[in-house]
């Protein structure tokens, strides 16, 4: 069926459109306007904004640590309303089903879960499989695993490390690699409580710097589009701006993605010895085109922090609100879950909020900075519409700033920043840039041949409201949202890549698992038959 969305304001950076126009699609794909063609279905979207479906590059929506958070905090997610027909469990708060519904309602059609432990990848994929409507992807976590650290300690050839990386990414069905406090979680098992960029992992003689550099190179070598996704050392600590700047230098010009950088934008100024260092940070990012970042914006709310940075999460336990949590020493990273409440009246939280917005407003290229809240660590993904509204209005920011502790405003440059994002820039950050970051050539855009994932918004005074409830959302050309409500479920895909490797690595790994754990390595495999729907995966191509 040939459909046309007629007369909307098409905002599509990938095709450089920012004008009134029509969007045609057929059989799940965008098509060029057929000459003199007549649509089977014509929808008048005049007065609306038309964009590609949004892509969230970093949101903790699935896996063992996320599920621990659900079970830890029943009091934080009591459901309050019954669901609509055709959408089972869609109002079960924090459930995978609700996750799919809420993302779709905001015009999102793909989300990447950024922290999949190789030894628990099946659970992550079982959960992703139960996120309806949207497409999903995941990043595999390496960098605290004994096998890699041993290889690096022995000074093995890059080709051997590449084989291990390629095998692990392929076998866990992910889109690339994440590295979380490289070596720091292993060090925590050895009872270290702080771990910096140049600290040595006990008994391996390796620094965090060496570990992430090796993985960064390897990611490039095996043809993973997404640059190494790095969660740096010293998250959340006053003065950690130095770690962040040193890490960018350590990237040596190679592609690198830094996760939730707001949590590293802290100086030590003021009487609380805690200040925003975002201006310095943004300057550095502007000068290093090889680096992309997502922000991890703090939004004032009750939330829960979920991270595979076990060392950091352990240190957060005394400040938990409410005071409880889970600390899991995994086979490699593990994870920690600690509840937290960001309060507008709290000096530190106010600095965090301001530091995040400064980064958005001071980084020049919207395709270098992404809009995450590091869901749920800085706030829930449902706060994105409010975040977009803040980026688009200096007045709205001023209104919130008026409610912050006045001393906080002395330690951020936010009051001086008048920049307002345009819809085009919002689309660069959430669509075209996000697609580029993963090498997707047929999503995040409305060019002919792209997947017909389309979000249509009704603009109004309430910018957050516009983004919260899309007027229409199409997934693969099917209408899934109308007037901000999900009208039906459909099953999305989980996208994955399969970089090539020399099969010798599997033989070697088999022997390693047998010798160390006394287990067949295959127990951690992820065969298609393990998932309820055998057609859940869709492979995307590697680079070159």
């Amino acid at each position: 069926m040939l459909t046309v969305l007629r007369g909307g304001h098409v905002v599509d950076p990938a095709t450089k459109q920012d004008a009134i126009g029509d969007v045609w699609f057929k059989d799940g794909r965008i098509v060029a306007p057929p000459p003199g063609g007549k649509a089977d279905k014509e929808i008048d979207v005049s007065g609306h904004v038309v964009m590609a479906g949004a892509i969230d590059i970093h949101s903790h929506i699935a896996g063992g640590n996320v599920n621990t958070a659900r079970l830890l905090l029943p009091e934080l997610h009591r459901a309050i309303r019954a669901r609509r027909a055709g959408t089972p469990l869609s109002t079960a708060k924090w459930s995978t089903y609700e996750t799919g519904r809420l993302y779709a309602q905001m015009g999102f059609t793909m989300v990447v879960e950024p922290a999949m432990a190789p030894h628990a990848s099946l659970q992550t994929h079982l959960e992703l499989n139960d996120v309806p409507i949207i497409d999903k992807g995941a990043l595999t976590v390496l960098g605290n695993d004994d096998f890699l650290l041993r290889m690096l300690r022995k000074g093995e050839a890059e080709s051997a490390i590449n084989d291990y990386v390629a095998f692990t990414v392929g076998n866990t069905r992910s889109l690339g690699l994440k590295c979380i406090n490289p070596g720091g979680c292993e060090a925590f098992k050895e009872n270290l409580r702080v771990f910096g960029l140049d600290d040595e992992v006990p008994f391996y003689g390796l620094t965090s710097r060496q570990i992430f550099q090796a993985l960064q190179k390897s990611t490039q070598a095996v043809g993973v589009h997404h640059p190494l996704h790095l969660h740096m050392n010293n998250l959340g600590i006053a003065g950690n701006i130095d770690t962040a700047l040193d890490t960018i230098d350590a990237a040596q010009g190679l592609p690198l993605h830094l996760a939730h950088v707001q949590f590293y934008a802290y100086g030590k100024e003021g009487k609380n010895a805690f200040s925003s260092a975002s201006a310095r940070f943004a300057e550095k990012i502007n000068a290093n085109a090889n680096v992309s970042v997502d922000v991890g914006q703090v939004m004032f709310s009750d939330t829960v922090t979920i991270s595979s940075d076990v060392l950091k999460q352990f240190n957060s336990m005394p400040g938990g609100m409410p005071k409880k949590g889970a600390i899991f020493d995994g086979d490699a990273n593990g994870g920690g879950v600690v509840p937290y409440a960001y309060k507008i009246s709290n000096y530190y939280n106010a600095i965090q909020w301001a530091a995040g917005l400064e980064l958005f407003l001071l980084i020049n290229n919207p395709e270098q900075v992404y809009f995450t809240t590091d869901h749920p660590n800085g706030g829930p993904f449902t706060a994105y519409p409010d975040l977009f509204a803040l980026l688009m209005s200096a007045d709205l920011r001023a209104q919130t700033m008026a409610r912050l502790p006045t001393e906080a405003l002395e330690h951020t440059t936010l009051p001086s920043l008048k920049r307002e994002y345009t819809l085009y820039e919002i689309a660069q950050m959430s669509r075209s840039g996000a697609a580029k970051l993963f090498g997707f050539t047929d999503r995040g855009q409305l060019g002919a041949g792209a997947v017909a994932d389309i979000a249509v918004y009704k603009p109004g005074k309430d910018v957050a409201g516009m983004f919260r409830r899309a007027a229409y959302v199409y997934k693969d050309g099917e209408l899934v949202v109308r007037n901000g409500e999900v009208t039906q479920y459909k099953r999305g895909k989980t996208l994955n890549i399969r970089p090539r490797y020399d099969n010798n690595i599997t033989t070697r790994l088999d022997a390693y698992y047998d010798e160390l754990y006394g287990l067949p390595r295959s127990i951690f495999d992820l065969p298609d038959a393990a998932l309820p729907n055998h057609d859940v995966f869709a492979e995307v191509a590697c680079r070159n």
């Binding site: 089972p88 079960a92 309806p132 098992k189 889970a326 600390i327 479920y489």
Partner: protein, 366 residues
């Protein structure tokens, strides 16, 4: 070919599924109970309970909730059996019957072998067992601190006090061993405590154990390995967690999930008459329902040979035995695919429930 019976008389599978749909569809508040199933079975069962606006419970919820209560009200430190195996230099087993609850435990944790990682690599592990069953600890080099089941909370309280350097009164016989254990845990690089709520220890004792672990982490590292309950309990709890946000004992009377360990206990729901039909699932073992009420309209999904005397019975296969299944694997602390050991044509719980759900007019889930 699967077997189905109605009050002991054979009926076709097709008729059985239709009859099951009628019983559940006619009920005002049915309960999906037992839930002894693999991940796929649990998923189908929870979707069915939601579709019916009923409730669901697992046959080992008491044990599931004992651990969860400690997590939800206090905190929990855990690790994987692999990490315990390669890193623990002190191992503390708590309670009787652990090696029956997890038959491969000693093989997997290999207490007799030295740890492999850290400063402790290659050194002899120190092993203690508080309150094992007779002979249970005979084949490992463990220091045994005898304790009856009902003495465990007191022993753990004593141990925690000694770890904290506080004096304790009484029990001169066991105090030297408790003191020694406290010293070993404090000096260990990576201590690991192993327990199971299924051994009969209550949430207070588990909290005492975890509080001690938290205390130890102030100066060194210590963590725990829980042994999950029977009939797929750990996997069902995880599946339930991502599907509804809650563990079993969750109801959908209002059209959305509400978790209440008292209100949605299957035994109470049936015996009180609040539930007017029950679907009992026990695919692992064929365990019988716990309620005493004999006349609730009942559908039983159980393996061959476990047919109840009354109601509707549909034979299902055993996960990992007659069919491949995904379940939570105790030995790795995560989900894994299990290949069938003796494959048969008996249907899985998921297959039967999906067939019932299809007959129940209305929407089919995602």
């Amino acid at each position: 070919m699967s077997k189905a019976t109605l009050d002991g008389k054979p009926i076709t599978l097709e008729d059985a599924c239709r009859e099951a749909a009628r019983i559940l569809g006619d009920a005002t508040f049915p309960v999906v109970a037992g839930l002894g199933a693999d991940a796929a079975g649990a998923r189908s069962a929870i979707l069915l309970a939601e579709q019916l606006r009923g409730a669901y419970d697992h046959l080992a919820s008491k044990e599931i909730l004992a651990d969860l209560d400690v997590l939800r009200s206090f905190s929990m430190f855990t690790t994987t059996p692999n990490e315990a195996r390669v890193r623990a230099d002190a191992l503390l087993f708590v309670g009787p019957g652990l090696s029956q609850l997890w038959p491969a435990m000693l093989e997997r944790l290999a207490p007799g072998q030295p740890p492999r990682h850290g400063a402790q690599a290659g050194q002899q592990r120190r092993i203690f067992w508080i309150g094992p069953e007779a002979n249970e600890a005979a084949n490992i080099p463990a220091t045994i601190i005898p304790a009856a089941r009902d003495e465990l909370p007191e022993m753990l309280a004593m141990l925690r006090a000694r770890v904290g350097g506080r004096p304790v009164a009484g029990d001169a016989a066991r105090q030297p061993a408790i003191d020694e254990l406290a010293g070993v845990l404090k000096n260990a690089h990576f201590g690991v405590v192993v327990w199971s709520a299924s051994s009969g220890i209550d949430p207070l004792a588990i909290e005492m154990l975890q509080a001690m672990v938290a205390d130890l982490n102030v100066t060194t590292r210590c963590t725990g390995v829980p042994i999950g309950a029977r009939s797929g309990a750990a996997g069902v709890t995880q599946t339930s967690g991502w599907m509804t946000g809650f563990p079993p004992r969750t109801g959908f009377g209002r059209g959305y999930p509400e978790h209440d360990p008292w209100r949605f206990e299957a035994k109470r729901l049936v015996d009180s008459g609040e539930a007017d039909a029950a679907l009992w699932i026990s695919a692992y073992s064929g365990e019988a329902p716990p309620w005493s009420k004999g006349d609730v309209p009942l559908i039983t999904l159980a393996p061959a040979g476990k047919e109840p005397g009354r109601g509707l019975y549909i034979e299902v296969g055993q996960p990992g035995v007659t069919h491949d299944c995904v379940e939570f694997a105790q030995e790795i602390g995560s989900f894994a695919l299990r290949k069938a050991t003796t494959p048969s044509s008996a249907p899985s719980v998921a297959q039967i429930i999906d067939a019932i759900a299809t007959k129940l007019q209305g929407e089919v889930s995602c």
